[in-house]
């Protein structure tokens, strides 16, 4: 069983990503609607992947990536940025902070599945 944390403030987008990812099989999805909630979930699961948006209330995606990648307990978890094409500059910054990939909204379900599979080494 692989654990994935989805951090995204839109509940419909979360639900849609969940349904796409669950098609990949043995996957347990945990949702967080803000950066704070994500931080809260971190110690509770052994996550295999974190998917995060950039623009969010309280702490944003970049701040979250920074948190995870700076913390020796979590820095090994791959992180994927999922955000819109508008945030080109922010995506680059996310990558320098240690994110492992990004994908642009809107995306095709297969595209998301492929990226996730490779990050999870399925």
């Amino acid at each position: 069983m692989k654990y994935i944390l989805i951090v995204e403030d839109s509940s419909t987008t979360r639900a849609m990503m969940r349904s796409i990812l669950e098609e990949l099989g043995e996957i347990e999805i945990v949702e967080a609607s803000t950066g704070f909630e994500a931080l809260r979930q971190l110690p509770a699961y052994k996550f295999d992947l974190i998917i995060t948006d950039i623009n969010m209330p309280d702490i944003n995606g970049l701040e979250l990536i920074n948190f995870v990648k700076k913390d020796p307990r979590y820095s090994h978890i791959p992180m994927l940025i999922v955000t819109t094409e508008k945030s080109e500059e922010d995506k680059k910054r996310g990558m320098t902070l240690g994110a492992d990939g990004y994908i642009t909204k809107p995306f095709q379900p297969e595209e998301l599945q492929k990226t996730i599979s490779s990050l999870l080494k399925l």
């Binding site: 403030d9 839109s10 509940s11 419909t12 987008t13 639900a15 849609m16 609607s33 803000t34 950066g35 704070f36 909630e37 931080l39 809260r40 110690p43 948006d53 950039i54 623009n55 969010m56 209330p57 309280d58 702490i59 944003n60 970049l62 701040e63 920074n66 948190f67 700076k70 913390d71 955000t83 819109t84 508008k86 945030s87 500059e89 922010d90 910054r93 320098t96 902070l97 909204k105 809107p106 995306f107």
Partner: protein
């Protein structure tokens, strides 16, 4: 509509509602300095809408929100200054987005290319302020690379304004960090601007979490340490307060200018949504709640059956312990069912402030469009009303409010000449009266010209030229279909919704509208609505073989028909009710039923005061609690029915719209002229 589509529409509507109110806040405050948090929240709202719409393949909404987002991005990055023009352009586009989201519900496709070009042209028409300031050497690079483009811009702005840049270090126990962190962030926002939340670099105990909060503030370090009570260190000292602040220079009202920074003293209003709201509320489709109510209604029927069995058992076996137990159970059932019903109805209630907020937007925009200064006041926003009714009543209210602005409030010169304040006032007031909510829309304008109504009514042959008609009755005429003087119906809106439609809508909801107008003092339109229409108590009556439901709330008494009290005057049936001549209509006549029924008949007296009449029915079946359902679009044009109700499992009864029946009966004197 698929359920995922519904979810999308619900979320999109919520986002746009939030966007609208954020824009209102910006409109109200930008002259004193744009609040970066509101602006950023607005950007984020549209950004989220774009992302979600894209995933659901709504190309038009995606493209338009993308264009709006780009515009907002330039605004929040300080490249475009906020001005009245920018704000009204944004309002217009939020409206457009709303229209497109509505289109998803109605499966309507809209070509947005024209709107996109318009936004593009608007962006190009506005000169852009460059931002050429390097942060290198001023702020450590390890911090800079964590910042998003927007945060970087805010950091630059703070520096430009001579604010100090500080970092506050806070370490919290993991179990409670979110609440405590939110508290510190709130405090920081009250004395400056929070720029970024970063992790602390040194190792911390396993069960704790640490944050470096970077913020800008014009206060000196010592003061900050005293207020915030945390370890703070300085990245950049604030420039001394003795220097004249550029923000104080006189401000032209309309001319675009660089966005001034946030003033140093601002209460921590409009903080970002707290964690609590995201975790303790659920969004429920109103249809699901309707289904719960239907189930409750069925349970209520079942309880009735149990009670009947108890009565029979009590008659057959007397009050044995078993029978008494059963009685107790039926009592508990009844009490608990009533509680359950009340609780579900409570879930459907929303504060009327939700509608008032939207009306506030209409008023501000519309008064700008027509060039009138209007002061808007509202009272009783906390009054609660059923969500469904709230949604249904918004269009009529928009109509009334627009009328007040277009035709109620006089132009400024006219007001001055009358010795009134130049600025007109529109007041919205809501209050609860028993089972009703009363919404009052009041303007201090010129009042409705009853003389014009009279002329029009004479032209149309509704009244005779020399007929004596009270002003009150003349005012009533503006609710007649197609009746419009320029004074009563908005032509600015171009929607052609007359007050007659307003009246019909209210009537379907079981409410009514009343209007009072006084020359040069103003006009007050009062809407009276039931708090909830989900469940009503109804009297089931029979006309011929058909059963109809009459809402109990509109019945004043029920009589057994005394043949000799029935008379016919001028072709109309009247009933002598204790000396008063009560107009009577037979339900069978209204619905053209021909079944002959013998035996005693009843008169159900409906309506109140002068608007009272009798319904002649063949039998009284009994009393029921019914869940009223709309008849749907297909039957929209049919009068005299408020909806359909399910009684029992598969039986459906039509619920009479008493208001429209009274209307039909009492107004017949007008129809003589037709």
């Amino acid at each position: 509509m698929k359920s995922s589509e519904k979810e999308f529409v619900a979320e999109a509507e919520e986002i746009l509602e939030e966007a609208g109110s954020l824009l209102l806040v910006i409109q109200d405050t930008y002259k004193e300095g744009v609040d970066p948090d509101s602006l950023n929240a607005l950007f984020r709202a549209i950004h989220t809408l774009k992302g979600t719409a894209g995933l659901f393949g709504h190309q038009g909404i995606t493209d338009l929100s993308h264009a709006v987002e780009s515009l907002l991005d330039e605004i929040r990055l300080g490249k475009i200054a906020v001005s009245d023009d920018v704000i009204s352009f944004l309002f217009k586009n939020i409206d457009l987005l709303r229209y497109l989201v509505d289109g998803v519900k109605e499966k309507r496709q809209t070509d947005v290319s024209g709107y996109l070009a318009e936004i593009q042209a608007f962006r190009e028409s506005i000169s852009k302020a460059g931002e050429a300031q390097s942060l290198e050497g001023v702020i450590d690079e390890s911090i800079l690379k964590v910042l998003s483009e927007y945060e970087e811009h805010r950091l630059k702005t703070n520096l430009k304004e001579g604010k100090g840049i500080y970092i506050l270090k806070a370490v919290f126990p993991f179990t409670e960090f979110d609440k405590m962190l939110e508290e510190v962030r709130g405090k920081i926002k009250s004395i400056g601007e929070l720029l970024s939340t970063m992790p602390v670099s040194e190792a911390l105990p396993e069960d704790s979490i640490g944050f470096n909060l970077m913020f800008g503030s014009s206060h000196p370090l010592k003061e900050l340490e005293e207020t915030l009570k945390f370890e703070i260190h300085t990245l950049v000292e604030p420039k001394s307060a003795v220097e004249p602040k550029p923000a104080v220079e006189p401000k032209p009202a309309v001319e675009p200018k660089p966005v001034p920074g946030k003033p140093p003293e601002r209460p921590p209003q409009l903080a970002e949504p707290s964690l609590k709201t995201t975790t303790t509320t659920v969004r429920v489709d109103i249809e699901k709640l309707d289904r719960v109510l239907s189930t409750i209604a069925e349970l209520t029927l079942a309880r009735g059956a149990v009670k009947r069995i108890w009565t029979e058992m009590a008659e057959a076996y007397g009050h044995t312990p078993l029978v008494i137990d059963m009685y107790k159970i039926t009592q508990t059932l009844q009490r608990k069912l009533a509680e359950l019903q009340e609780q579900v109805l409570e879930i459907r209630m929303v504060p009327i402030g939700q509608i008032f907020g939207r009306l506030a937007q209409v008023i501000r925009r519309h008064s700008r469009d027509v060039g009138k200064k209007i002061n808007f006041e509202m009272f009783g926003e906390d009054t609660e009303i059923d969500k469904y009714i709230a949604e249904e009543v918004i269009d009529p209210l928009v109509h009334i409010v627009r009328n007040a602005i277009d035709h109620g409030i006089e132009p400024a010169e006219e007001r001055k000449a009358k010795g009134k304040k130049e600025e007109g006032t529109v007041t919205l007031r809501a209050s609860q009266w028993g089972n009703h909510v009363v919404i009052e829309v009041k303007d201090d304008g010129g009042g409705i010209n009853t003389e014009k109504i009279r002329q029009k009514a004479v032209e149309r042959g509704i009244i005779k030229a020399d007929e004596e008609v009270h002003d009150k009755e003349l005012l009533e005429l503006i609710f007649t279909p197609g009746f419009s003087t320029k004074d009563t119906v908005s032509e600015v809106s171009g929607r052609g919704v007359g007050l007659d439609i307003v009246k019909d809508r209210l009537s379907v909801l079981g409410g009514f509208v009343d209007i009072v107008s006084e020359k040069d003092i103003g006009t007050t339109v009062t809407l009276t609505l039931p708090i909830t229409l989900a469940i009503i108590k109804a009297l089931m009556v029979k006309a011929g073989k058909e059963v109809f439901a009459v809402p109990l709330s509109s019945i004043s008494e029920i009589l057994t028909l005394q043949e000799d009290a029935m008379q016919t005057i001028e072709n109309r049936m009247v009933y002598n009710l204790r000396g008063e001549m009560l107009p009577v209509t037979s339900l069978k006549d209204i619905f053209k039923l021909t079944d002959n029924v013998t035996g005693k008949a009843f008169i159900v007296v409906v309506g109140f005061g002068e608007r009272r009449m009798g319904l002649l029915v063949d039998d009284i079946v009994g009393q029921h609690e019914v869940v009223v359902k709309s008849l749907g679009d297909y039957f929209k044009g049919i009068r005299d029915f408020a909806g359909a109700a399910e009684i029992g499992k598969h039986e459906v009864t039509l619920v009479l719209d008493v208001e429209s029946i009274i209307e039909g009966t009492l107004m017949r004197k007008g129809s003589v002229h037709v």
